[in-house]
């Protein structure tokens, strides 16, 4: 991993069109500004990873699970 030291107000260019700016540092929190083309999706890493992990977890079901789901929401069930 490339590690760079930056001060508030300084930035980093990634390729020609993604600009990262270190906005502010307060205690253990760093605020980062990102200028990127709209087509480049920018996510908080933990949110993206959570969705990725959910998809991975969601593929190991079987038909009995589908039946149980139907029962779970069935109006007739008690």
């Amino acid at each position: 991993m490339l590690v760079l030291t930056r001060k508030p107000g300084q930035g980093i260019m990634i390729g020609d069109d993604v600009r990262i700016t270190l906005v502010d540092v307060k205690g253990d929190t760093v605020r980062i500004g990102i200028d990127a083309p709209r087509a480049t999706r920018v996510y908080r890493q933990e949110l993206y990873e959570a969705v990725r992990q959910e998809n991975r977890d969601a593929v190991s079901w079987d038909f009995s699970d589908l039946e149980a789901l139907d029962k779970h929401v069935s109006k007739e069930s008690k």
């Binding site: 709209r38 087509a39 999706r41 996510y43 908080r44 949110l47 993206y48 959570a50 969705v51 990725r52 992990q53 959910e54 998809n55 991975r56 977890d57 969601a58 593929v59 079901w61 079987d62 038909f63 699970d65 589908l66 039946e67 149980a68 789901l69 139907d70 779970h72 929401v73 069935s74 109006k75 069930s77």
Partner: protein, 151 residues
């Protein structure tokens, strides 16, 4: 017709009916083509089956069945990915996870946006959502109550 071997047996399909995820899905970035498989019981859950990887199938549902106020609008880039305009239909669907302990959650933080007009879909990650990627599926009683109130 073409056919693929899935975890649930051989499935025949019409290539013209394939649902396209132009960007794949997080965790399955290389999988683009899926079949929509209706629930034989007609219930609110159905699944999508990867054409490219027989082991990959995801249960989906319309989350407004359980969270009536849930709504996601595609932004300009997402509309472009779906190849539709603002006036075209776009449905938010949720991936359903059934865990080993049989608990059930909906991924409301990462909805799948589906455009019937172009048969395209993209999964988006909501940035400031109050919903979780592991939102517990409400029990039938709660769903009923809500319907009773609205009805």
């Amino acid at each position: 017709m073409e056919s693929i071997t899935t975890r649930f047996g051989i499935v025949e399909y019409d290539p013209a009916q394939v649902l396209l995820f132009p960007d794949g899905l997080p965790g399955f970035e290389v999988l683009r083509r899926f079949l929509v498989m209706p629930n034989p019981t007609g219930g609110p859950f159905f699944w999508i089956q990867s054409v490219e990887e027989g082991d990959v199938a995801l249960i989906l549902t319309d989350p407004t069945n359980f969270f009536p106020e849930y709504a996601v609008r595609p932004d300009t880039e997402e509309l472009a990915g779906l190849n539709i305009g603002e006036e075209d239909d776009c449905h938010a669907l949720s991936v359903v996870t059934v865990r080993e302990d049989k608990s059930v959650t909906l991924n409301l933080a990462g909805p799948i946006l589906f455009a019937p007009k172009t048969n395209r879909a993209i999964q988006v990650v909501l940035q400031n959502s109050r919903y979780s990627s592991r939102e517990p599926l409400p029990r039938a009683e709660n769903t009923q109550d809500r319907q009773a109130v609205e009805g």
